[in-house]
């Protein structure tokens, strides 16, 4: 009773139907689609929902906390009159909240004088500013080869058992935007308690510095709540960026858990399934999240989105990674092979790509030799992979001397360049110097993509 919202809202007790995450309320009036709903159980417990369908006097509501333990005779539904809005502003910084934005850190609820609808509005494509400056993560494999660009959406494709959460936490903890104000919004969906504790721990410093918003929906938390978590994260981020003038990195993990929540609701509604029983609108739904990145002409700040997803059974053609790949601007792929070699982060450089790197790295952005070094590393890596296949066939002894240098290069690349400590923040200078050290294991004749002046500067030996 005491929790009854004091908004003078009509409360309905006409609950007709409960199944899965859905509640059907009868005899409603003036209820709009996508409206936010507050349920009060007789025990005083509150639950929350969103209107999925309103047909004459009947509203279908998805309950974020699920319908477990709900007795239709002992629950009241109050419709708030608008789609869900949350307070926005710098008050979120330094806070740790659950997947609905309620505090987990013992502090008061987050207040703000301004509220925003969590669904957001699409950015006018004419007003978008093409991304052009880097976010430096301090992770060599990312900074050098798949540079993250402010306003980009770059997912990490991983598989079960790989240290993607460690990588996400490291990027969230270390990233900077060239001395300009920088914040991180970290949205975790369906992570285990141990993982949640790890994330809190790893990001403590950033949180204490007032540069982090942490939203945690654990595996034990309501599944449907996950549909809301990334939307809240992005709404907070958009305000911090375009009102607050900060560069904001939004990390969302695990998008596969999110898509499963979406599928659960879809199945409960009896919708016609598309691929692997995911709803047909999965592409548009994912796009409504990922596309909330970018820069806006005439406004400071940027929103950069880094979604993480685990590919079920490591299958890149699974709908979640596949549709994500169609929306995002490249991908960072983690591989079991690199992991088995003991390399952290286990980035598969040849499968990874940052489509915006050409705009966000190089002269005037990072370093004059950056793009050439990256191209040469990838070309040499591709050759090294061919050589390794050949070596498997004919044996190492049958390889030409040059080919054997490529095998050495491959090792140097994995252990001297990609591999780094989980708390190690490498400057771009250090990353590129390491790249040079690795490249110089090859004779100069094999470094045809590097202009002579760079080779001379690094005293690449002639011949070889």
């Amino acid at each position: 009773m005491t929790d009854t919202p004091d908004w003078g809202l009509v409360e309905y007790t006409t609950i007709r139907d409960l199944h899965g995450p859905l509640v059907v309320v009868d005899k409603v009036e003036g209820v709009g689609w996508d409206e936010f709903v507050l349920f009060t159980l007789d025990s005083g417990e509150q639950r929350h929902g969103l209107v999925l369908d309103v047909d004459r006097g009947t509203a279908v509501v998805q309950v974020l906390e699920d319908t477990a333990e709900i007795d239709p005779a002992r629950i009241r539904a109050a419709f708030t009159g608008t789609p869900l809005r949350i307070p926005v502003g710098p008050g979120w910084l330094g806070r740790v909240c659950n997947g609905r934005g309620e505090p987990l850190d013992g502090g008061p609820p987050v207040f703000g004088s301004v509220t925003s609808a969590v669904g957001g509005n699409p950015v006018n494509p004419v007003r978008r500013e093409p991304p052009a400056e880097p976010v430096l993560t301090g992770v060599s494999a990312v900074d050098a080869l798949t540079t993250l660009v402010r306003g980009q959406k770059l997912p990490v494709f991983s598989a079960a058992g790989l240290p993607h959460l460690e990588l996400a936490a490291q990027i969230a903890a270390q990233s900077t935007a060239g001395g300009e104000p920088f914040s991180v919004v970290f949205a975790a969906m369906g992570v285990t308690h141990a993982d949640a504790a790890f994330v809190r721990d790893a990001l403590e410093e950033r949180s204490a510095a007032g540069e982090l918003v942490l939203l945690l929906n654990t595996a034990a938390d309501p599944v449907i709540e996950r549909i809301l978590t990334p939307r809240i994260a992005l709404t907070i981020a958009e305000d911090l960026a375009f009102t607050g003038g900060r560069h904001v990195l939004v990390v969302m993990t695990d998008m596969t858990s999110y898509a499963e929540a979406l599928r659960e609701v879809s199945a409960a509604r009896g919708e016609i399934p598309a691929r692997r029983a995911y709803p047909g609108y999965l592409y548009s739904d994912l796009a409504s999240l990922y596309e909330r990145c970018g820069r806006i002409r005439g406004l400071p700040g940027s929103v950069t989105v880094l979604p993480l997803l685990t590919m079920p059974a490591g299958d890149i053609t699974h709908p979640v990674p596949d549709l994500t790949g169609y929306i995002t601007e490249g991908q960072v792929v983690l591989s079991r092979e690199m992991h088995a070699k003991g390399v952290y982060p286990p980035v598969d450089a040849l499968s990874s790509l940052s489509r915006l790197m050409r705009k966000g790295a190089g002269p005037g952005r990072t370093r004059a030799d950056h793009l050439d070094v990256a191209a040469q590393l990838l070309a040499a890596l591709a050759r090294a992979r061919q050589v390794r296949e050949l070596a498997d066939l004919v044996g190492q002894a049958a390889l030409s001397p040059t080919d054997r240098r490529y095998l050495a290069f491959d090792e140097a690349f994995a252990h001297g360049f990609v591999d780094q400590d989980r708390g190690e923040r490498r400057t771009l200078e250090e990353t590129l110097e390491r790249a040079w050290q690795v490249l110089l294991t090859l004779p100069r004749s094999q470094l045809s993509m590097l202009p002579a002046e760079f080779l001379d500067a690094h005293a690449a030996p002639e011949g070889g």
Binding site: T82, N124, R127, P131, P273, E291, P319, G325, L350
Partner: protein, 581 residues
Amino acid sequence: MGTVTGVSSGGGRILRVAGPLVEAEYVAGTAMNDLVVLGEAELPGEVVAIRDGVVTVQAYEYTGGLAPGARAHPLGRPLSAPLGPGLLGGVFDGLLRPLATAGAWLEPGAAGRGSGPTRQWEFVPRASVGDLVDQGDVLGEIHGSGPVPLKVLVPPGRSGAVDHLAGAGLHPADAVVASVAGTPVTMTAPWPVRTPRPVRERLDSPRALGTGQRAIDLLFPVALGGTVAVPGGFGTGKTVLLQQIAKWCDADVIVYVGCGERGNEMADVIDEFGALTDPRTGGRLAERTVIVANTSNMPMMAREAGIHTGVTVAEYFRDMGLDVVVIADSTSRWAEALREFASRTGALPAEEGYPAGLASAIAAFYERAGAVTTLGGRTGSVTVIGAVSPPGGDMAEPVTAHTQRFVRCLWTLDRELAYARHYPAVSWAESFSRDAEALGARRAATDDPDWPARRARVAGLLAEADRLADLVDLVGITALPAQERVSVLGGRLVREGVLQQSALSQRDAYSGAKKTAALAEAVLDVVDRCRELADAGVPPAHIEEADFTPVLRAREEAGPHDADTVRALGRSMLDRLGELI
């Protein structure tokens, strides 16, 4: 779109809202496909079904907060695109509302969609009062809208005497500038987007669209008025290829429909087209381009309309006697919008949840392409190039499979080629052009007698090299006879020296017909010389180890129309090979 005053009081009551699906009471005078304005926010929507006194509306905007009991007001006319000056160089949403005057965030409804002041355009009469005119005849021209003057035509279905004609000078875009047998003619006139604009007759076009991309112009050419599908998984360079064609192809007008794609990419297109110079007119590329931008997070149903809006705009320019190319990226997202809505209306699903009408919807879209004689007797064309995004790279999925049946050309992008950094990754084995034969015959009869033979030789060499590549994997290259080894080498030279083309290259992003022909000739001559050498007993390993840099670098060394440099490099290569004997 037009705002209707007192909307909230008229019309029928809304009964149901489920995302973009809205049901409302039927009111007299509502017809299928009519535009409906929903609720106080005046969200636009379209009637898609009428049954038992209930109208089903597909809403074009986010319907959050819209409740049963609000009003749905039918406007008594179908969704129409305002066709007139101001389209060229503009960026619009799927309903052809200008985006340049909208705010940074696109809010649903009329809010934030100010159309700005009505611009004045220079009208020049090209007829006289009293003239007897027929449909499609020219009444006047509009200047200042782009590199070519636009024509004001007698509307379809009208004919008679010109009884009023405005004088030369500036007129607002919506002004009446003429009257034919009592029918007023405006500079900007609406046309229902789902109705093809009428033509006098369809033609078999023997004219090729020059795309400037060698893999296409040489192997899989498309005729003006043809249809092309470009299937490719993510990362195969689909968008880059389409943008290259939009930039460099030799059409008069480009309509670029960004349909459910990336916002940053759209921003890039808008930026680049505004900065690049059109090599043919010297103006900015943007001035021959109309961009319909409906990014993936913009309302899904407007995406569905955007495809039709884009083709309608193209037909408008076609009717003036222009060659227009419509590029739709991506038709798969459009089909998904169809599926989404069909699923909400409870339509029986066919394959993978797509509605049973998917194939006919795709066919109807591509059918709006064509080379025609316009009502006024001019020759014009609409060429449609549609990207297809097969989920998981599965070419058997419904959108890809159906599209292949309805198009004249298929440019399949191959993931293996893309991973090997072979761009554009147009697969020679999986693509086709049903126009190639007719276009080849035409080229042979006019400016390039060798065209069909050259294409056949390049295609034959690629197929032979592919066949042998499988063998090489098994037995090794050294096990092959000399001539076969030359074929493998020849395949590599064609791929690297002719087909590869970097979109980022200063000189080679665009390749003119003469340069394309010269490059193919140069490589074929080199292969011929290699065959002679092999016949003369030169060990194939020696031939393979020769430095082929001159023919491989020729595409980068020569400018877009520079066939002479290519020929010179080809000759120096032949000389170098001569030293092997």
